[in-house]
């Protein structure tokens, strides 16, 4: 993405320090392409990140304002920041699966409840890979990791019976989609929709980790095998096969149907100010 790199990214951080064969760049690029296609300038976006692979690799790549929160807390920081920055600025967050669905889930759910504008791209490498490869909340059933040596037997959060996106939908999120990083165009389109929703948007995007997931779960660091392993287990919603783990596409699109958090706060505060000024002090 040379043209886009020049336009939007910091040369110091591109290429990133990600492992060879890592799929994170596909997800990252999709968001940058979406931003470009919507005509945003680098000053229109404030980019937040979390910890882990997804956060560390994308922090300070954006050629505008960047912030990186502590583990799981970036959604709370973003909610406070949302109030303070001009309404027309957009918050984009690139975070990991452990950060969003584990340590930060309480804050994520409250961000969804409040419908604070943030386009959250959850870059899911199927567990805690930057710490060496432990299972997480999206690790597929049966898969071996460093902390599930007998195969992942804990219930995960992607099974249709307990889909994290359904939880977020019930919690008030106004745009939700799921993809795998090799989805290409459809992933870009979802990112664009997320950016166009003045509210809480989340895209769950699975990407391949060769170094730890590949080694532990598939027994090799073969990039092509790992990419195919994910691709073969993904299918668009409605076209699921028996072995489909990731049903891709838009899960919920209630974009711009609920008042955004900071807008609601601004409106309420203006209303209270007016009322108070009319009544006088007491």
């Amino acid at each position: 993405m040379d043209k886009l790199t020049d336009k939007y990214l910091r040369k110091r951080k591109i290429p990133s320090t990600a492992c060879s064969g890592c799929g994170l760049g596909q997800a990252h690029k999709a968001m940058v392409v979406a931003i470009d296609e919507l005509g945003f300038d680098f000053d229109d976006i404030i980019w937040g990140t979390s910890i882990g692979c997804a956060g560390r690799q994308t922090f300070a790549t954006w050629n505008g304002d960047n912030f990186a929160g502590t583990h799981g807390r970036v959604y709370a920081i973003a909610r406070g920041l949302r109030l303070a920055i001009p309404a027309e600025k957009k918050l984009v967050l690139t975070v990991g699966d452990g950060d969003a669905f584990g340590i930060g889930f309480n804050h994520l759910l409250h961000a969804a409840r409040s419908n604070a504008q943030m386009a959250v791209l959850v870059c899911d490498n199927l567990g805690y890979q930057s710490t060496g490869g432990q299972y997480g909340w999206t690790t597929p059933t049966g898969v071996k990791t460093d902390s599930s040596p007998y195969g992942m037997f804990e219930p995960n959060f992607v099974d249709p019976d307990r889909d994290i996106l359904e939880v977020l939908k019930a919690g008030g999120a106004t745009f939700l989609a799921r993809h795998v990083s090799m989805d290409g165009r459809s992933l870009v389109e979802s990112c664009k929709k997320a950016l166009q929703n003045n509210g809480f948007s989340l895209i769950h995007c699975v990407f391949p980790c060769i170094t730890n997931f590949g080694k532990n779960a598939l027994g090799s660091r073969n990039t092509v095998n790992m990419f195919n392993w994910i691709k073969n287990r993904a299918a668009p919603l409605g076209e699921e096969k028996e072995d489909t783990i990731w049903r891709t596409g838009i899960y919920h699109d209630a974009s711009n149907t609920r008042t955004e958090f900071s807008q609601m706060m601004r409106d309420k505060v203006s209303e209270i100010q007016r009322r108070y000024q009319n009544e006088g002090s007491h």
Partner: protein, 390 residues
């Protein structure tokens, strides 16, 4: 000047409003809940925001977010909430985010007794987060009036030093009703010694200069400066880096911007230190009020007793402990926290003693009994917690 008979919680809110606070994030907890409640009433009227968080960890992060966007932000809690601040506290220290944090100490550990005063967080506010390599600024008022003043001061210092500043109160201060004077004019504010500092935004690109200088504006997002701030060790521009050299530079700044500018922070009250007193009682916060009465009465009896009351408790005011004497640290805890600092700061040949009680103030009679024993050279056999009734 407006006068009120009100709680410390009210006074703290007044201080915050005077200092220009326009964002507050809180989570209900005794005995600091009323600060959140009062902020929810007052802030919208001046165009500010009250945010209620899902927990204290989120509360401080929300406040940090607002500060990062250029607002003057505050959060308030007590011990069980303060430990959840550990995470954001480190972030705010490392990213050098101005913020005001209030901790109203109750009796612990854990939930303990909610409606009684304690002083068990003396070290907790010095080391509020992990990792070390930082100094903290902590102000400890001993009345509602002083709590208002120290809230204003905390906002001022947080901007100049670009760091979170903690107000260390206790349940008696925040819940207790007292006479409070709130200034209305600039002259009145000045006469009360209030200092104010407006928010500025760092223009970059070197957001984290490795210097002990203060008055460097903090990072503000959304103003087109290509700002960087993160939880990782920063380069001078704010890029994440894992080198010992960068960490050394960053640590130097976090430690020495405070250590080398202590004269701006330092506040204390001393009494009768000029005639080489035999005993110097040391206390901060509400117990210092009983201690002050006890010391004055003892002087009337002819006993040579002095007093030191640190108001800025961190950095600890070592410079006040010049005299060789029998020091008596009076605290609202049984484990003796400040006594260790007194031991460290006092001249080597001084005697250091401890009087601890928790959940209630020491009485003047108890303190006089203790002074008498120390003057006679008797060993203190009855510490506050050795109860005959047991």
């Amino acid at each position: 000047m407006k006068r009120y008979l009100e709680t410390g919680n009210f006074a703290i809110t007044q201080g915050a409003m005077l200092a220009g606070c326009n964002a507050f994030a809180g989570y209900p907890i005794t005995p600091a809940t009323e600060i959140a409640e009062a902020m929810s009433v007052n802030l919208p009227r001046i165009g500010g925001y009250y945010m209620q968080a899902e927990d204290e960890c989120a509360a401080m992060h929300l406040a940090i977010g607002a500060s990062l966007g250029g607002m003057k932000a505050m959060t308030a809690t007590s011990g069980p909430g303060f430990i959840l601040y550990a995470d954001p506290y480190g972030w705010a220290i490392g990213c050098e985010i101005p913020l005001v944090v209030l901790n109203s100490q109750r009796v612990g550990p854990v939930s303990g007794i909610t409606g009684a005063p304690g002083q068990g967080e003396f070290y907790n506010v010095r080391y509020p987060t992990q990792g070390g390599n930082y100094e903290t600024i902590v102000l400890a008022p001993n009345s509602s009036q002083e709590a208002m003043l120290m809230t204003v001061e905390a906002f001022y210092l947080s901007e100049r030093f670009r760091t979170p500043v903690t107000i260390l109160a206790d349940q008696l201060i925040t819940d207790g009703f007292e006479d409070i004077s709130v200034p209305e004019t600039d002259e009145e504010k000045e006469a009360m010694g209030m200092r104010f500092m407006e928010r500025k935004a760092h223009q970059g690109p070197e957001f984290y200069p490795p210097t002990d200088e203060i008055d460097i504006p903090p990072v503000v997002l959304g103003v087109g400066t290509k700002a960087l701030c993160s939880d990782w060790t920063p380069t001078e521009e704010g890029y994440d880096i894992e080198t010992v050299e960068a960490q050394h530079k960053h640590s130097y700044r976090m430690i020495y911007k405070i250590r080398n500018n202590r004269d701006i922070i330092s506040r204390y009250e001393t009494l009768f230190l000029d005639d080489d007193p035999d005993i110097i009682a040391v206390a901060y916060g509400t117990p210092a009020r009983t201690v002050k009465t006890a010391v004055k009465k003892a002087r009337e009896k002819g006993q040579k007793i002095g007093m030191i009351r640190p108001i800025s408790v961190w950095p600890f005011p070592d410079e006040l402990f010049k005299h060789k004497a029998k020091y008596l640290s009076v605290e609202l805890d049984y484990d003796g926290q400040m006594v260790r600092e007194v031991q460290r700061a006092a001249p080597a040949d001084s005697e250091i003693h401890f009087f601890g009680k928790c959940g209630e103030l020491p009485t003047v009679a108890e303190l006089h009994e203790t002074f008498d024993k120390l003057l006679k050279g008797e060993q203190l056999t009855r510490l506050g917690w050795e109860r005959e009734a047991w």
